[in-house]
């Protein structure tokens, strides 16, 4: 479908395409995603990453769920295995990037000012400031926000959503757009579970499955390192799978964007 010649007019949308108009007014059928500009930039970023054989993970969560702490623990565990780089997104301060640099990993801080999410253009600007030669995995730590980041494709290969046990086990039901977009969900700060008897991990998983998500739920504590091996194993598997896809010339978008593309082609 080319969006220009009219071949995207189907029985489902014909009533929109050929509606009667007031005299002098012409109708143009568009059927274009509102964020198509962002999506084109994201595809461009993804092509950059694939060309350099880099696996890219977008970390999303509410503020304070432990995204940076998880990255620190991940760097400690994988520093001899992979070359890592991090793109940090926050409204203000260089604090998170400095925490990552202290671990000896290059980090680029995007300060969004008042914007509540990262978009593909910000990532593209960051990429041109970074030396990604020989990097194996790039982590993008999105702005702490369970709403907006889920709507913007950045060019990543996988989305990871963190849910800390201090938040509430019904979070996936309250923020379905975000949790549906996750390829893996990390249940963080599980060292606090003994004092938080009102958080039931099994209910968090139930709420996630209600979103028709088959994403693994990985429980861990970045502080005590409990459960960390399962997260590291998921990363290794996903990176290997991405390497295979690049060798076969396949392009991988996070689960949801892929679904969306299929659906829009089929039903509009």
């Amino acid at each position: 479908m080319c969006e220009t010649c009219g071949c995207n007019v189907t029985h489902g949308n014909r009533h929109l395409a050929y509606a009667k108009n007031e005299l002098g007014v012409s109708a143009v059928t568009v059927l274009k995603n509102l964020l198509s500009e962002n999506d084109s930039q994201a595809a461009h970023n993804r092509a950059h990453f694939d060309q350099q054989k880099i696996f890219v993970v977008n970390l999303m969560s509410a503020p304070g769920s432990g995204k940076t702490a998880l990255l620190e623990a991940t760097i400690d565990a994988l520093r001899d295995e992979f070359r890592l780089a991090v793109i940090e997104g926050d409204l203000e301060t260089e604090n998170d990037a400095e925490r990552i640099r202290k671990k000896g990993v290059p980090a680029y801080q995007i300060t969004t000012g008042s914007a509540c999410h990262l978009d593909a253009h910000m990532i593209h600007t960051a990429l041109h400031q970074m030396n990604l030669t020989d990097v194996d995995i790039v982590f993008i730590e999105n702005v702490g926000n369970l709403v907006c980041p889920a709507s913007f494709d950045l060019g990543q290969h996988a989305n990871v959503a963190l849910l800390s046990v201090t938040e509430g086990d019904d979070k996936p039901a309250k923020y379905p757009v975000m949790f549906r977009a996750a390829d893996a969900v990390v249940l963080s700060k599980i060292d606090l579970l003994p004092v938080l008897d009102d958080f039931k991990p099994v209910l968090a998983e139930y709420a996630l499955r209600q979103l028709a998500s088959s994403a693994p739920l990985i429980s861990l504590s970045a502080k005590t390192k409990a459960g960390l091996p399962a997260w590291l194993e998921w990363l290794r598997e996903q990176r290997a799978a991405q390497g295979e896809r690049v060798r076969r010339g396949e392009i991988r978008r996070p689960r949801i964007q892929g679904d969306g593309v299929r659906f829009h082609a089929a039903s509009v």
Binding site: G24, V25, S26, L31, K32, P176, Q210, L211, A212
Partner: protein
């Protein structure tokens, strides 16, 4: 929160189309938005006058069609309308479903006034 940036992207798309169509005015803009797109229609409508100020899209009526959330069951193949945070099959309850509607954020159609129409009218007068 991010509706303003989405709205700015929408205006850029309208401007491109208006230019391609040699339009002098945009009358109506039709969108289809699903609850799982992450966009709040009311906030988008609020952002529209601000985002469209000074553009050909300013003053146009914004009509937003809300898409239903629908899933297709991979187990019993039923297609059912469901709630945004309960995407399991409405028929058999299986969670192996595929979303077939409800995550759209589409610009579906624009009604505009072409320069040629204005010229024709001027000739008639």
């Amino acid at each position: 929160m991010h509706e303003l940036s989405v709205c700015q992207a929408l205006i850029r798309q309208i401007e491109i189309i208006a230019e391609e169509q040699h339009a002098v005015d945009v009358k109506t803009v039709y969108l289809r938005i699903g609850p799982l797109s992450g966009i709040e229609p009311a906030l988008l409508a609020q952002a529209y006058p601000l985002a469209s100020a000074g553009s050909v899209a300013f003053g146009a009526e914004l009509r937003i069609e809300i898409a239903a959330v629908r899933v297709r069951c991979q187990h019993c193949h039923a297609e059912t309308e469901v709630l945004p945070n309960r995407l399991i099959c409405g028929e058999c309850g299986d969670w192996h479903t595929q979303l077939i509607g409800g995550d759209e954020m589409l610009l579906t159609r624009i009604e505009l006034v072409k320069r040629s129409a204005v010229l024709m009218e001027a000739q008639h007068v």
